[in-house]
């Protein structure tokens, strides 16, 4: 091997499309990189890990569209989207730190295992310095832990469980999306206003961690305003027909049904509930109501007419700026460039992924380094505006974004298939903010940032 050179790879690399070893060389001490996958050429690679098969494939596809758009804007293509409205002005269309942004994609299959395998390949094979995306909390927590170990940044996509920035929080992981606690805190006052303070709740909860944290949050928030929870039934994740869980609801004396379900579970349980005619009934002299704490456009689409009049919460909605004013600036800019490229308005998953990509790029520019520790430092406690959610804080203690939460309701007469929800209320950020040591988020430890080398 006379003319071969053992070296920490990447130093010789001219293209970013390459592989990179995970950790320090054991046997050969060469100039070690400062951190995992340090981009040395003229490009930098980001990894977008979204569900492309399985039930959340459509949501994944929307996230991927947003990522592609964000990369275009970062590289100075297209109309620039939220770059012009973003309060931080370091992004000028010249890539990140002057390096052209490239990206690789993978399929999480909405399984922790597959998601980690896919993220590993992005880190080890493609040399990605940041992983983003995902559509479930299990996957987000699993990939976040992997990124922490590997020494890259994880910018979570759609993940709503308290645990992501609670007991499973990691220094290298950041969440822009809101969480179950915030959903509950935002919903409670609106629910009191709409349905009164004397209500009895029957809830169905998907029997896994996310469902539990959401149920816990909703229960605490609604009971604080005077509602009572008379029953909570756990439903199997694999359930497709919820009739046997819904049939006993009416007879229980409850007058509100809370569905702590997401995705296909939520579409089916809601469809079943409406089938049973629950919404046409009167109980305790009040109209029976159904609440779906976490809402998404795709679920609303899947549930069709059944979603009409159902209240829930969202991280963001594409009509925000038009309806609630300039506080939510950036929304229209994003909707314009997304709509021009794809022909329909973006979902909240798309917005969060787009915003996360920009936030990462900006943090690198501000910290002037791709080093994860520099990114962490730049993002911690970062206050920004103009990304569509109004003024937002990336809290240092748990790497969670605090911003306004949108309370929405299914439209009775949607004008088209993208206009399924109406904004009822926007609950301001301070109403949904909690202390970092809130018991629902306790037990975790960010640890130290890990640059991987």
């Amino acid at each position: 091997m006379s003319n071969s050179r053992f070296t920490r790879r990447g130093l010789l690399k001219t293209s970013a499309v390459g592989t990179a070893g995970l950790a320090m060389p054991m046997f050969f001490t060469s100039q070690a990189n400062a951190f995992t996958n340090e981009p040395t050429g003229s490009t930098v690679t980001l990894g977008f890990n979204v569900p492309q098969s399985g039930p959340y494939a459509d949501e994944g596809a929307d996230e991927l569209r947003a990522f592609q758009l964000a990369v275009e804007h970062l590289n100075g293509e297209g109309d620039g989207g939220m770059l012009s409205t973003f309060s931080s002005k370091t992004l000028d269309g010249t890539g990140i730190l002057g390096k052209k942004v490239q990206f690789v994609t993978g399929d999480t299959q909405t399984k922790s295992d597959a998601a980690r395998a896919s993220a590993q390949s992005m880190i080890q094979k493609d040399g990605a310095v940041m992983i983003s995306g995902g559509s479930s909390s299990g996957v987000a927590v699993a990939v976040q832990a992997l990124c922490q170990e590997a020494g890259v940044i994880f910018m979570a996509g759609l993940t709503h469980s308290n645990d992501t920035t609670g007991k499973d929080k990691k220094a290298n992981g950041f969440r822009h999306f809101f969480n179950a606690y915030m959903s509950a805190a935002a919903l409670a006052p609106v629910l009191a206003q709409l349905y009164g303070t004397d209500r009895k709740v029957y809830s169905l909860t998907a029997d896994y961690t996310w469902g539990w944290t959401q149920q816990e949050s909703i229960k605490a928030a609604t009971e604080a305003m005077g509602w009572t929870t008379i029953n909570d039934v756990r439903t199997p994740l694999a359930a497709t027909d919820f009739s046997s869980y819904i049939a006993p609801v009416l007879n229980s004396g409850a007058d509100v049904l809370v569905l702590n379900h997401y995705g296909g579970n939520m579409v089916n349980s809601l469809t079943n509930a409406v089938q049973f005619g629950l919404r046409d009934k009167q109980v305790n002299g009040k109209n029976f109501e159904i609440v779906v704490p976490l809402y998404s456009e795709l679920m609303a689409k899947g549930a069709g007419k059944n979603i009409a009049g159902i209240v829930g919460s969202q991280n963001w909605d594409w009509k925000l700026e038009n309806e609630k004013g300039a506080r939510y600036t950036g929304t229209n800019a994003f909707v314009q460039s997304f709509g021009a490229k794809y022909g329909f308005p973006p979902s909240q998953a798309a917005q969060t992924c787009y915003a996360q990509t920009l936030l990462y790029a900006d943090a690198v520019n501000r910290g002037k380094s791709f080093n994860p520790c520099s990114v962490v430092e730049a993002l911690e406690g970062f206050e920004f505006d103009g990304l569509g959610n109004g003024p937002t804080l990336y809290r240092k203690d748990d790497h969670q974004c605090f911003k306004d939460v949108v309370v929405v309701r299914g439209k009775e007469n949607p004008e088209n298939e993208f206009d399924l929800v109406e904004i009822v209320e926007v609950t301001p950020a301070d109403k949904v903010t909690y202390a970092p040591d809130n018991p629902m988020f306790a037990g975790g430890d960010l640890g130290a940032c890990n640059p991987g080398a």
Partner: protein, 394 residues
């Protein structure tokens, strides 16, 4: 040599060579070229190749030899992973105790399930194993969350006791190691345009796979293996020959469960997270597909099948439309778009489609699996004898 006949020994050498040089063989394209997308020589995927190879080798001991089709083998994989992670959490980050425990626990679990399920044969046996595995999965996902951490999967935390290891001061979760040799440490060789990564974890997996493969060869050629094949062919005659078939099948079931546990434990050693998804019926189905696809009852078939499926899952799913555009960018625009449109449904999010089509093609045209395909090619190329593959009886 090593108690093997010449052909088997040659095959073992071949497998050893393939495993040793995998970082080269799997990275045939220069990193800068467009085809580097097809390179599979990075540690995580190579580890998966050999780990699922172990899983499939073990499954083949049951299915290939006795003909009992278990549809719940993923349960043992999952149990192995959970045991290993618990070992990391409680005892030490050393992989050795973790692997031992995962094999033992999986073996006990297999003994229990096998004892009950083997009272029936044929599809009734398959459904019994499926039922046990699905029960394990459903419970692991929900009620057993204190043990399994449910949806997220069991993972390491900073405040785990780890009684044998020194107190953790680094502020980050420690990494798995073998007496201090870290599983994730790797060294990279850059050679002209190529880049090859050699990782400790992969070579440990490969070594264990070789041992597992060697044991399976010995087992195939042993009186025990012959008894199992006899049971597959004619259970009636076995009984009238003075052999008690139930303990034989149970032993095979437990051995193959232990292989699955070993694979599960290794998965956790390479990446210390154990998710419930590993126990789902689709995961059990996957190992069935690997084995049949490669060639059930052959020695090397299951390993090939495992590699085949994992390659598709990890490589094809990552080809997106911008990569396709890159490949065809030298063509005129309309042709580029046409080709991208033709190929796009089969890669990226369409990788399942390609896999499904290949399943069908292989099973229609190569009833003996990929091994038979290899034999056909070898014969076409003029090698008179069957080359590196093996048939069940000789």
């Amino acid at each position: 040599m090593l108690g093997l006949n010449r052909r088997d020994f040659a095959m073992l050498l071949l497998v050893a060579a393939l495993a040793l040089f995998a970082p080269f063989i799997l990275n045939p394209f220069p990193t800068a070229s467009g085809l580097s997308q097809f390179n599979a020589g990075y540690p995580d995927l190579m580890q998966r190749f050999v780990i699922f190879g172990i899983f499939a080798i073990g499954f083949n001991i049951l299915f290939g030899l006795t003909g009992y089709l278990s549809f719940g083998h993923a349960a043992f994989l999952g149990v192995g992973s959970y045991s290993a992670v618990w070992m990391f959490k409680l005892l030490s980050m050393n992989v050795l105790p973790a692997l031992v425990l995962s094999v033992v626990i999986a073996g006990l679990f297999a003994l229990l399930i096998g004892y009950v399920s083997l009272r029936r044969s044929g599809i009734y046996f398959s459904i019994l194993t499926l039922a046990f595995a699905q029960m394990s999965f459903n419970l692991a996902y929900s009620v057993l969350t204190p043990i399994t951490n449910g949806e997220t999967g069991l993972q390491l935390a900073l405040d785990d006791p780890r009684i044998l290891d020194a107190a953790n001061t680094a502020g980050s979760v420690p990494v798995t190691s073998l007496f201090g040799l870290e599983m994730r440490s790797a060294v990279t060789l850059d050679l002209a345009g190529w880049s090859f990564t050699f990782s400790v974890g992969y070579y440990l997996c490969a070594l264990i796979m070789l041992v597992a493969f060697y044991i399976s060869v010995r087992l195939f050629r042993s009186p025990f293996g012959m008894m199992l094949r006899a049971i597959k062919t004619n259970q009636q005659r076995v009984n009238y020959t003075g052999l008690n078939s139930r303990p034989y099948t149970l032993a095979a079931f437990v051995i193959s469960g232990m292989y699955a546990g070993l694979a599960g434990g290794l998965l956790a050693c390479m990446d210390p997270l154990a998710g419930a998804d590993r126990m789902q019926w689709t995961a059990s189905g996957e190992v069935v597909l690997m084995t049949i696809l490669g060639g059930a009852g052959t020695l090397i078939g299951p390993v090939l099948g495992a590699g085949f499926i994992k390659y598709f899952e990890n490589i094809f799913s990552k080809i997106n439309d911008s990569i396709l555009h890159q490949w065809f960018s030298f063509l005129p625009d309309w042709m580029e778009n046409l080709l991208v449109n033709i190929f796009y449904p089969f890669v990226g999010k369409g990788w399942h489609l390609t896999l499904g089509i290949l399943f069908m093609l292989v099973v229609i045209f190569l009833p003996g699996g990929l091994v038979q395909g290899g034999q056909k090619i070898a014969r076409k190329l003029g090698f008179g004898k069957k080359s590196n593959s093996d048939t069940p009886a000789e």
